[in-house]
Symmetry: C2
Subunit: 189 residues, 2 copies
């Protein structure tokens, strides 16, 4: 069976350039704290506060670089705490999703939409996908072993020569499986 | 395939009689807020605060009646918030688990052990188990369908003529599966 490393995504936010400037000041550039598994992606040194109808998170990590649309990714557990009911979506598919208020050191922005629970997915480099006979958008069953073993169904394959092999799940999924960042999972089909 | 209703357990606590008295006062009796799916079990009107090394929860629901040992059941997400690393255990198996501080209106108690992440399990009435050929302690694979479909492995069968059919999972597991209280799951094997 083909093995894939697990990347656990804690709540995080992608910001548009416009929102970076509104939150951090004109011409502001995000600082790189740490490179992520996907080439060119990084955890920024900066965080923002997010404020929902029922609660807030004070330090939500920004992931860079800037994107065309601002998108906040939270777990369903987080969603209950802030009082929102975001749908499970693929990254970038934010049409009709709830909004939220963002607070940075230089200002505050209320986005009309952009809050999602990220759909679990695996990034495959084109070469890995070809070798394993996996195509972009394919839905996979993936087993995470251990004392809380489970099989995730409908894991979306995303294939690109810009990607490195990594399965992205959120903290609810990781905690339900007793898995942590860097553990391995097995693609069943 | 055999269907079983899902009962989602949010964080909760079972208290010994001694701890009820220390937290609420001498001779105190828990008030019934709501009967639970298992005969004789109830959600009490009372809550306690629990305080761990890194955080606290102010209103943790007490489930009654009193038990021989105090036991706090939290999700792994909760465990990170309070700063503990409890093992996944069956109810009652608290030997060597972390302790925590409990605060009630009449006093405060620090338990030396008793914090667990509950192992997922299904309560079967003896008749259901017999009909389906399931025995006590059997490990089952159970599918939860939907847009976050998954298969939980190693779900422990607990069989008694005192039980009503119900699968107990925690909020991490429910959120990972996109499931809510009263949804149905399927026993695969």
């Amino acid at each position: 069976m083909n093995q894939v490393p697990i990347g656990v995504s804690a709540r995080h936010i992608h910001l548009s350039e416009q929102h970076i400037e509104q939150l951090f000041g004109e011409g502001y550039q995000l600082q790189v704290l740490k490179d992520l598994s996907q080439p060119g992606q990084f955890a920024a040194a900066e965080t923002v506060a997010v404020v929902g109808p029922k609660g807030r998170f004070d330090k939500v990590r920004i992931l860079g670089p800037a994107r065309s649309q601002t998108q906040l990714e939270i777990s369903r557990t987080d969603a209950f705490s802030v009082g929102l009911n975001p749908p499970v979506r693929e990254s970038g598919h934010i049409n009709g999703t709830p909004g939220i208020t963002l607070i940075g050191p230089a200002g505050e922005v209320t986005i009309a939409e952009g809050v999602i629970v990220a759909a679990r997915h695996i990034h495959f480099h084109t070469d890995d996908a070809a070798k394993w006979g996996i195509v972009d958008k394919q839905l996979l069953s993936v087993k995470i072993d251990g004392e809380r073993a489970l099989i995730l169904e409908g894991v979306i394959a995303r294939v690109s020569d810009q990607y490195a092999l990594d399965m992205h799940i959120d903290t609810d999924e990781a905690n339900a499986a007793g898995a942590k960042n860097g553990d391995m999972a097995w693609i069943l089909s």
